[in-house]
């Protein structure tokens, strides 16, 4: 089976902290990591390959340092990896990103199965997966909690819906977005890390993908951010002091004023 996984490199933490003395946002010290949801997609791909044979290829669109993320994916069992990097891709919204990934997938050859993490922890939109499916003309299922069976023709999956879990069958080729409950991603071994370091990562630019400038990057994005601001908090807080026993006692009396609580 030919399995592709789309992954993203994201900041290690979304916390924007204020310096307690200057009250400005602290930007240093941000590490980059593999988007946690994607680790589950990669693990699932590697497991399916172990069961059914075939290959796993990872794709990512990002700045050149995203190569280190791809090496990690190889370290846990992917066979090869493709980095889409080009200044022209900068500023892409989810639609432009999906188009660019689709162009790369088409160039490398269509897979039987494409796995994505449900969403990225920095954007949280969960949009790229379904958009990519549309760009490729693949059917898709989101929120997959388990891939129960798969063969050359179709997959049976357990999916989470708002009303509980359902079992569905989807014909291949298809795109699935996966949830964290699907597996426990492995850590690489020493040998795996060394394989990742030695791997050759394929790089593709906009030209290689034969993409028009108006289909990617800022120009290819339909949405724009026009402003940002800090939210303002206006609640009046009562601090309850004392030892834990005293605090619990005082809290009880405060809550009881509003009606019996416990």
């Amino acid at each position: 089976m030919k399995i592709y996984v789309c992954v993203k490199q994201v900041p290690a933490s979304n916390e924007t902290l204020l310096d307690p003395v200057t009250h400005t946002i602290i930007r240093e010290g941000t590490q980059s990591i593999l988007n946690p949801f994607d680790a589950y997609a990669v693990e699932e791909a590697v497991r399916i390959k172990a069961r059914r044979g075939g290959s796993v290829t990872a794709f990512t669109m990002g700045i050149p340092s995203a190569e280190s993320t791809l090496r990690r994916v190889i370290a846990v069992g992917a066979d090869d990896a493709v980095l889409l990097t080009d200044r022209a891709f900068a500023g892409s919204d989810t639609l432009a990103t999906a188009r660019t990934l689709a162009a790369a997938v088409k160039q490398r050859g269509m897979p039987d199965l494409l796995l994505c993490g449900k969403m990225a922890t920095d954007g949280d939109t969960a949009q790229v997966g379904p958009m990519l499916a549309e760009c490729l003309g693949f059917p898709h299922i989101s929120d997959v909690a388990e891939i129960e069976e798969t063969d050359e023709e179709a997959c049976v999956v357990r999916k989470m819906t708002d009303d509980g879990y359902v079992r569905l069958r989807i014909r291949l080729p298809a795109l699935l977005t996966v949830l964290k409950e699907i597996n426990i991603p492995r850590l690489p071994s020493v040998s795996g890390v060394l394989r990742g370091e030695q791997a050759e990562i394929v790089r593709m630019t906009g030209e290689a993908l034969e993409m028009n400038a108006d289909r990617t990057g800022l120009a290819g994005s339909a949405t724009r951010v026009v402003s940002t601001e800090r939210p303002v908090l206006t609640r009046k807080t009562i601090w309850i002091e004392g030892t834990p026993a005293e605090q619990a006692g005082k809290l009880r009396s405060f809550l009881q004023e509003g009606g019996p609580i416990c």
Binding site: L95, D124, Y165, A222, T228
Partner: protein
């Protein structure tokens, strides 16, 4: 105008759940009416499927007309089928704005549709306004894990698409006197993503979305022993245990218990936050009458939201609360 439907209108996708039209649809109709008023355009609710006399409820909450696309019965709504239908309808009637609930299905359907229409989509909006100068929809959503609010527009493409989480906006008071106007369309919806096999009965019946008292635990809860105590406290208070995202991400709590932007919006009378830092993305899911925060970090943002603040170790707090029988 076509079939009585003006172009450039505000559309709300009416999602069907197992128990009928999902409540978020009505919440969106309330917002749509406000936006449509500013644009001097009508509100259209779009239903895909059989009518079953639900059009009246949509009209009562703000729909000026109901566009009903009849397709064969579905056990579960299919993203490709609905994309096909909505594509045809939007190309025919050209709405300016299309709103959808950011439900599980909505978050899967909206991006697929936006890609087909090659238009812009903003997910999980907490604010929607019409810009008086440009006439564009200004869509506000939390960014940077909730520490900033970003405002986004879709300046060139239509329809401007946005999804909104359930319970972010209130349900409007229904006005049964509003006229019900239904326009029927029959559309081919042969494309399908999947073949439905069966529903799997849920092990977990607890719905944090309806609980009156929530004991909510975060990363600072301090271990399994404390989680067990929190559960006991919830039981004694007639409440339910809920969680912030990190504990769900690490597999300690099931996703059904997650409160926040990417989880559920909750509206309890009492929200007791234990070891939760209070990032905006979490607090965006909390609309409680009284918020109590317990945390050892005096700078935790949650204290800015709390009515009662306790700088205390969660384990010690729980032991103290439980000792009083």
């Amino acid at each position: 105008m076509l079939n009585g439907i003006e172009t450039g209108g505000v559309w709300v996708y009416s999602e069907q759940g197992a128990a009928g039209i999902r409540p978020v649809t009505y919440e969106l109709l309330g917002q749509a009416a406000r936006l449509a008023h500013a644009m001097k355009r009508p509100v259209t609710a779009v239903m895909i499927g059989r009518d079953n006399d639900q059009a009246a409820s949509l009209a009562a909450c703000g729909a000026d007309q109901v566009l009903l696309a009849e397709i064969p019965d579905e056990v579960l709504p299919d993203e490709l089928a609905h994309t096909m239908v909505l594509t045809e309808l939007t190309r025919k009637y050209q709405p300016a704005i299309l709103l959808m609930g950011a439900t599980g299905f909505g978050r899967s359907l909206a991006p697929r549709l936006a890609a087909r229409l090659e238009t812009g989509l903003t997910a999980d909006c907490t604010g929607l306004e019409i810009d008086p100068k440009t006439g564009l929809l200004r869509q506000t959503r939390p960014a940077f894990g909730g520490n900033l609010l970003a405002t986004i527009v879709c300046p060139e493409k239509t329809p401007q698409m946005a999804t909104v989480r359930p319970k972010v906006f209130p349900k409007p008071v229904p006005d049964e006197s509003r006229p019900v106007r239904i326009i029927r369309e029959r559309i081919e919806s042969t494309d399908r993503c999947f073949e439905f096999i069966e529903r799997i009965p849920a092990a977990e019946e607890t719905d944090i979305g309806t609980a009156g008292v929530l004991i909510s635990i975060g990363q600072g809860i301090g271990g399994t022993e404390n989680i067990a105590m929190a559960e006991e406290l919830a039981r004694r208070m007639g409440g339910v245990l809920s969680s912030s995202r990190p504990l769900v991400d690490s597999g300690v709590m099931p996703y059904a218990r997650q409160v926040g932007q990417t989880g559920k919006t909750v509206t309890p009378k009492l929200y007791l936050a234990l070891g939760i830092s209070g990032a905006i993305q979490h607090m965006a899911g909390v609309a409680a009458k009284t918020i109590v925060a317990v945390n050892t970090d005096p700078d935790a943002p949650i204290f800015g939201y709390a009515d009662y603040a306790l700088r205390c170790d969660c384990g010690e707090f729980l032991r103290a609360m439980l000792e009083k029988n």
